[in-house]
């Protein structure tokens, strides 16, 4: 098959969990990577080495362990900045996950004064395919500030309906926030094009790249040129640990935003009467940061960089194309989202006529096939397609065509288990 990672079997060996045996001696077929990715040994080992040999708090400690830990932590920032080609490494802010990164933006905008202030009559624009983490923060912001939330709708094929872009993005628009790749439909959105439109009216552009960064090369210099101001992603979906996310922001914007959480590390000086704040990135990193998590994430992006993000994109594309084709042979199966693999990422949500997604996932699990069932934190998108829930299979760099075969075989078994054939 064209496009697969050439050393797929070697890569699989890097991920210890892929050798896991499930109940009944079933091998694991992990197709839930859009939910969270598995971790290569090198990420785990790097974290262990840090905890066993270099553990200390950062920034504050003068001793050798402190210097080692600070060095490891700050070079993780360098690595991540390089991985997404950030204009400046100080623009990389560590959060606890992508959700916190998005909330950081919405929450500080609520307290911003001056040009970034949002109030009555102002509008925030999102899309109907957003993850809840890119909906609720904007609902909270607009409700609290008396602004209006608006959104792009979707075409039946799962792409964004941009027909009303000129009325949606107008001089009242203060923020446009959208996902680059949908975690439900798989759709890849034209973020640069939308960013240019938003810039033209002076709006801030926020991109949720939680599903994009794992799957494709990201060039923030280029995106910044198109007008993207802030971008969020999460560690656990890029073969890194939980407990860490990343917010990238353009320096001029970050400098204008008020602080988010207050406390240790984010200050310049503190008196009981008033405090002044540090510059970026520390201004937004109150308290002891996720140190071993940053170190793990550094190892993760090194690992992905070593495999090559272009190669990973091609692999995902090949697997997705193969999966879409194979799944089309299952009768009663309807894919939600674009059917052309080149327009989408590797998350494939579907319906199976007559079987509820929970039951699909349960039967699949009895065959060792791990998929997700539910609304995948994208309830409005499900509603748009008239369904309450769906089943989602999602691949990653370690996924083989054989695992897709196992999925399809398990889907056929599901149909027969529920006596549908």
């Amino acid at each position: 098959m064209d496009g697969l990672l050439p050393e797929l079997e070697v890569i699989r060996k890097d991920f210890p969990i892929l050798e896991r045996e499930l109940a009944g001696g079933k091998p694991l077929v992990y197709l839930d990577s859009a939910n969270t990715s598995q971790k290569p040994q090198v990420v785990i080992d790097t974290m262990v080495d840090h905890l066993e040999r270099h553990n200390a708090n950062v920034a504050r400690a003068m001793h050798q362990l402190g210097a080692e830990s600070s060095e490891a932590f700050e070079s993780a920032r360098d690595k991540i900045a390089a991985f997404v080609n950030a204009p400046s490494r100080d623009e990389i802010i560590f959060t606890k996950n992508a959700s916190e990164a998005l909330n950081l933006v919405a929450n500080t905008l609520a307290w911003a004064r001056g040009p970034l202030e949002i109030g009555e009559g102002d509008e925030v624009v999102i899309t109907e395919m957003e993850h809840h983490s890119n909906i609720v923060p904007w609902q909270l912001l607009t409700e609290r500030k008396g602004a209006t939330l608006r959104w792009f709708g979707l075409h039946d094929d799962g792409t964004l309906d941009l027909s009303d872009i000129d009325s949606l993005i107008n001089e009242k628009t203060k923020v446009v926030s959208l996902t680059w790749v949908s975690n439900m439909l798989g759709t890849i959105n034209p973020v640069a094009e939308i960013a240019r439109k938003a810039k033209a009216v002076g709006a801030i552009v926020v991109v949720d790249a939680s599903q994009a960064v794992p799957q494709m090369p990201v060039d923030l210099v280029e995106l910044a040129e198109a007008g993207v101001d802030l971008l969020a992603f999460t560690g656990h979906k890029v073969v890194g640990p939980t407990g860490i996310g990343v917010l990238w922001g353009r320096t001029e914007i970050l400098d204008q935003l008020p602080p988010f959480l207050g406390g240790g590390e984010m200050i310049e000086t503190v008196a009981m009467e008033r405090s002044t704040y540090a510059g970026i990135p520390h201004k937004f990193e109150a308290g002891t940061p996720p140190i071993v998590e940053a170190v793990g994430l550094g190892a993760a992006v090194d690992y992905l960089g070593h495999v090559g993000m272009a190669a990973i994109r091609d692999h995902e594309h090949a697997i997705t194309a193969y999966a879409l084709e194979a799944m089309a042979t299952v009768s009663g199966l309807t894919v939600l989202g674009p059917l052309d693999a080149s327009l989408r990422g590797g998350a494939i949500s579907f319906e199976l006529d007559g079987v509820h997604p929970h039951d699909v996932a349960q039967v699949l699990d009895s065959r060792g096939v791990a998929v997700r069932a539910g609304h995948h934190c994208a309830k409005p998108a499900h509603k748009r397609f008239g369904v309450q829930a769906s089943t989602r299979a999602s691949s990653y760099l370690y996924t083989t065509p054989g695992e897709i075969d196992a999925l399809v075989e398990a889907l056929e078994y599901t149909r027969s288990y529920f006596k549908l054939s």
Partner: protein
């Protein structure tokens, strides 16, 4: 999980109730109506209770969800309709205990009847919420109906 576990989960009785649910639909009269959701998957139930003289006269519902949640709703209505509120509450408690017992609670067939078919569900933490959705909705609705009745009485007395 194994094929055996799967069969333990999807007992024939469950699949029967799923295909042919009892007491389905929303009916009048009712004293309380609630809407419950399973936040994880979006399964929903709208449920009404009608009480008369301390008895569960009717439970009617409109629900969307998986086989487990649908079957559980059907079994629940069948078990509580016609019982005294007190008795029904105690059945609810038994079922909830069974579901939350992680497979370590022995179900009492006398009390739970078809409900014992859900014993296997208790071993699947992710599905426990499915099985409990309508039972919790019923408990909530009944509590509301009783509270309102209490208020009415108070109002009447006052």
């Amino acid at each position: 999980m194994t094929a055996q576990d799967l069969d333990a989960l999807y007992q024939e009785i469950i699949l029967d109730h799923y295909k042919n649910p009892l007491n389905k639909g929303l009916r009048d009269p009712f004293e309380a109506e609630v809407h419950h959701v399973n936040p994880t998957c979006g399964d929903e139930v709208t449920l009404r209770v009608h009480l008369t003289d301390g008895k569960v006269s009717d439970v009617s519902y409109d629900a969307m969800g998986c086989s487990i949640s649908q079957a559980s709703t059907s079994v629940m209505t069948d078990l509580v309709i016609g019982k005294s509120v007190e008795e029904a509450m105690s059945i609810q408690a038994s079922f909830q205990e069974l579901m939350q017992g992680r497979g370590n609670v022995e179900p009492d067939e006398e009390v739970l009847e078809d409900g014992i078919a859900f014993a296997g569900v208790a071993k699947f933490p992710a599905r426990v919420k499915c099985a409990l959705l309508s039972w919790m909705a019923w408990k909530d609705a009944t509590a509301q109906a009783l509270a309102d009745a209490g208020t009415d009485e108070e109002t009447t007395n006052g």
